[in-house]
Symmetry: none
Subunit: 199 residues, 2 copies
DNA sequence: GCGGATGTTCTCTATTTGTTCTCCGCAAGA
DNA sequence: TCTTGCGGAGAACAAATAGAGAACATCCGC
């Protein structure tokens, strides 16, 4: 489904002018810029561009603003401290937050942890790195997850879920995979982004 | 959770006018400046800005004053593409930018490169990672630098400067350190931050 | 304690914005 | 000529947002 002539024009206009908008423009604003008088007409074109994946609607917002090509703003996500033994993730203290660029997170509920230890060194995750975690209870095999083990210890490991057991695999030759029964492991989130500060 | 239009307007106003206020302004003062007649309305917006981390309430004080745009925002740094052979860094095309949280950069001139290759894998820097580079011509031994070698090849390596030679050390057991004379190596920047996107 | 200034919370209303719908004009082809 | 698809206008609607205003809470100086 190639773009029609007008859709292409509008897309080009958006590409050329995204920086000029402080915020994502509204339909009315774009109508004015493009010389249109009907929101409904523009809306049709924008929907086509969304369907083709050229622009994307702003996440939660239903009203207010609408479209934004490319990557957008940074959000302040809750910072829940170091990932360490014996800590539940729930009960967000909401005290501290950390700014995370949009391209390092997902559209779902996310938070930030600081990595403690070198168990994932081979996966390029070092002690002190900031991990952006999407909060969810399930994961696919091979994903790196925040797992609560036996209700007492929280770790960041690559997961492998088999029929009768769960392996938590450290990416470090010094550490063997840990094997648990499914009831012993509770997934608390999945790694979606990483930040590191040198010096 | 991006800011709404009005929230963004108010934040911009605060950014532009913080110096003009002797003290942090009260809600009533801000209402007057912004043309609002209801404290309650403004209060809602301010709370939203606080929740997103763009401003923060004055600590102990309850009465009197209230807000102060405090912590760092994310800056849009120039994105100069993949770090690859044969490319000079200079001559910023200024075309693309990438949002970088303040804690991943320094106060000096910075830009972003995307890492190509696994030569720094042992240092936790993987293919595809985004490296935040401070633009400068000198580095301390042990720092990870963007180096232009013989005017033709640009690489990201750990540097060791000795009296009569310069070592560019890949953090990868498969690759031996590269030895050059000081005249062959030009430092173009130093790694100060790293970002990675999973999935 | 009293009163004023200030932050907070609430309800109510108005405006903005995205969405959906119908209708019209135009041009290209069968 | 008739049909089809594109592009646009405009009305009507729902949801989110923005604002007004009142009531309450809390701190401060007197």
């Amino acid at each position: 489904m190639p773009l029609t002539r007008r859709q292409h024009e509008i897309l080009e206009y958006l590409k050329d002018n995204t920086e000029h908008f402080e915020q994502a423009p509204t339909l009315d604003q774009l109508c004015a810029c493009l010389g249109l008088r009907s929101r409904g007409s523009l809306h049709k074109h924008i929907q086509a561009l969304i369907a083709e994946g050229y622009v994307e609607p702003i996440k939660g917002r239903h009203a207010g603003v609408r479209l934004t090509p490319g990557l957008g703003s940074a959000d302040a996500l809750p910072y829940l401290g170091k990932i360490a033994a014996g800590r539940q993730i729930a009960a967000v203290p909401q005290s501290e937050t950390m700014l995370v660029p949009e391209h390092l997170r997902t559209q779902r509920d996310c938070y930030v942890l600081q990595v403690s230890g070198d168990s994932m060194r081979e996966a390029g995750i070092l002690d002190g790195d900031y991990a952006v975690i999407e909060h969810r209870q399930t994961a696919s095999n091979g994903e790196i997850v925040v797992a609560l083990v036996r209700g007492e210890e929280t770790t960041l490991k690559r997961i492998r879920q088999e029929s009768d057991r769960i392996l938590l695999i450290a990416e470090n030759p010094d550490m063997a995979p840990l094997v648990f029964s499914p009831s012993e492991v509770e997934i608390q989130g999945v790694l979606v982004g990483l930040m590191r500060n040198y010096g």
